[in-house]
């Protein structure tokens, strides 16, 4: 029998994360004064041990034993050969995926939620605040906080809060307290509600609220936690790609193409960065982050300095951004509805090391249904975007007659996000493509900020 899964034992789990800052040069984040942010300025928001990680340029960073212990609930995740999909596509390509849906919350998000909870606990923090869009990140942090005995408060984008009641239930089962954003609990929330009481909310708004809730707690025992974008988040996710590398080595394979969907960038970074290291050192790999046409930060937005949140509480980050007040169309992949892109991922795009792709919602769900009926797993809406790109690449390999090895990250299962499958199957799902006019309008705000330099790493 063909072997479908390549497994690793817990002993084979990577003991260090890979830090891409050792291999690329970056524009620094800027504070309100226009100067590079100092660690001290971030101290009210994050614990110092995580800030040190955020700015570290050590190539390898040890994964604490206590973190490995919790990760071992579901890690190492399997590497799976998509035989049935290959057959359905009649492609000479070999398709492998890391399946991150095996985690308790069902996505890759706990890979960073767990170390973030751990480092906060170590630093003496008792409560974490965060935001969540579709709910994958909020669930992951609630899970991680329950493992380390921390309180967890989650501001969930209101439209998702209303549409996805199970997400709130899941967070509650782990002891998390999830409320809809904008809320009356923060100034940022109240300001928005005053202007627009019926706002559906956005990730940018929810981040503002969560940051405010953390820094305004006078006990000093509360910090904020972010599920994507920042360097330390990308760092923690590299365990995915490091495992994949070991797994592929076991079967003497090396990828020609690497694919991951990207909202804030952490899922993509997780699978891709350890291979980006190889590419910088001469390997020939196509590395493709995939985004929705409704929120095309990587394929269309300028590389600019912008805030990570709507209220402008965060430092200015060098990133591909549609402007921090941009509210993306209501596509079902909530995790891909973010106005910016991780600075590290953005930097790799500016240097041409990775090549972003954008796919429509319909193409994504078409791919998702095909994969559900071949590989058997019903994917998260975000993953469907990667699947559409995988199918494109497999078809390209067929046209070219090449036995390419395609590796992608199956970021999560879709069991709590099934509504859109119904709509797709009923022919009621629509496509959204950001118009030139909308983009021009939303990116105007970027003119207020300094421009990042076109730094060259290699």
């Amino acid at each position: 029998m063909e072997t479908k899964k390549v497994l690793l034992t817990e002993d084979e789990m990577p003991r260090q994360w890979y830090n891409i800052l050792a291999d690329i040069k970056m524009n620094p984040p800027l504070g309100p004064d226009g100067n590079p942010v100092t660690p001290d300025q971030l101290a009210p928001v994050f614990p110092m041990n995580l800030i040190e990680q955020e700015v570290s340029s050590d190539r390898w960073i040890d994964i604490p034993e206590e973190v490995l212990k919790v990760l071992s609930i579901w890690r190492p995740s399997p590497l799976i050969r998509a035989y049935s999909l290959e057959k359905a596509l009649d492609t000479p390509a070999k398709i492998y995926y890391k399946y991150e849906g095996v985690s308790p919350p069902g996505s890759h998000k706990p890979n960073t939620a767990v170390p973030q909870a751990y480092y906060n606990k170590e630093f003496g923090i008792e409560k974490l605040t965060t935001e969540t869009g579709a709910g994958q990140w909020g669930s992951a942090l609630a899970f991680a906080c329950s493992q380390f005995g921390l309180e967890c408060k989650i501001f969930m984008v209101r439209i998702s809060f209303d549409q996805k009641p199970y997400r709130k239930s899941l967070m509650a089962a782990w002891g998390g307290n999830c409320i809809p954003s904008p809320s009356n609990e923060t100034k940022a929330g109240r300001d928005i509600l005053e202007k627009d009481p019926d706002t559906p909310g956005s990730l940018g708004i929810a981040i503002s609220e969560a940051v405010e809730a953390a820094v305004s707690d006078e006990s000093g025992k509360t910090r904020y936690s972010l599920g994507s974008v920042l360097n330390h988040v990308m760092l923690h996710q590299t365990i995915i790609g490091l495992e994949a590398k070991k797994q592929l080595e076991k079967i003497n394979e090396y990828p020609d193409v690497i694919i991951g969907c990207a909202g804030g960038g952490s899922n993509f970074a997780g699978i891709a960065f350890p291979f980006v290291h190889d590419k910088i050192n001469g390997k020939d790999i196509d590395i493709l982050p995939v985004e929705p046409t409704a929120c095309p930060t990587m394929t269309r937005a300028p590389f600019a300095y912008d805030h990570g949140d709507t209220a402008g509480y965060t430092p200015l980050l060098p990133m591909h951004s549609l402007g921090h007040t941009f509210v993306p169309a209501p596509i079902h992949a909530g995790g891909l509805r973010y106005h910016g892109m991780a600075p590290t991922v953005s930097q790799l795009i500016t240097e041409g090391i990775i090549e972003p792709k954008a796919v429509t919602q319909l193409a994504a769900y078409k791919a998702g249904v095909l994969c559900a009926r071949t590989e058997g797993v019903v994917a998260a809406p975000e993953t469907n975007h990667a699947l559409a790109c995988v199918i494109d690449e497999a078809n390209k390999a067929k046209e070219e007659g090449k036995e390419k090895v395609i590796l992608f990250n199956w970021s999560g299962h879709g069991l709590i996000d099934l509504t859109a499958y119904d709509k797709y199957l009923a022919g009621e799902l629509t496509d959204f493509v950001l118009s030139e006019e909308e983009q021009a309008e939303s990116t105007k705000i970027l003119e207020n900020y300094p421009k990042p330099e076109m730094v060259k790493s290699t």
Copy 2:
């Protein structure tokens, strides 16, 4: 670091199922004429290759290669040491669980859905009908049918259909057609609707509809598929216990206590039967199937001949039964709301080889929340019943000061069944205990049938 999971490779997957009929004696199923049912009488309902399995007394039955191939999407499932739960309970017991939530539909159900779809396909069948309560079985069969290119029609108990819309979406993603039962598509459904248009439905009714839909298809290309109760279903599930045995051997452990929740019996049988074989051959093990106090077939109902469905289409099976017209209280563990119990499991109870336990809904959810916050996994409502029993046994081990090894089956995750966690956490969940009067009323119907003999196997 302590190893949390014991894994097997695909090569180590069992190649044969264990058939308990080789080790126990049973009363035969009876047909409408009061005589033992012949294979020919079952032929309109099931394909002959599965009927042969149903009546086989071979101890070991080969698992077809094509079945192993699909099972390998998620199998072998991990055996996990519940360190965090042990710590929270401060128990000397070592607690291990097989985690069946890793399957695409999220439960143990596809272990039999896949071979059933395979054997039907082999026999030339093109469409399967079935019933589902909470939706785990319907999802599993839709998944399995999509793997073998079969059509799938699912009659879902109306109250669950309305309360759990995601289940229908999941089946649809795999191409399954799920409709609420009772429906107007069958005589059984129409008869019930005429008497009670607002009926919430029941598993017994849905089985009647699914059987009727299969046997009334004049093409002869449709058969019925049952997700529990029957011998061949128990057989297919033994892969769980067989894997667990190998996994425990790897770490030089053997269980003192085995626990599984039981609705129709297949989840329990899956983990327990390979060890029942050992117990019959002299091993000292406590083997505990767990049911809800709302539907106490094993702990209170008589061992009797009864129909498997409400309309009385199925043969009379020798089982612990509350009567085939019994409608259990609306507990959230839909998979445990069945009036009967698998004949094999029932037989073991009559012989005292296994010792059934009953737990209340509140005890089950209390256990579920504790396990979510220690082990990290949010369990299915059904699994919560097993968890309550595991905690009782771990506490008993503590009282006795014994380092017992407890093995249980974590039948599935609760990600599509979260409503009851909300209610539990809000203090709105209630207990149901079947009253003596209700039981007397519901079991009256059993007086119409012959009595099974008290057969002794050992």
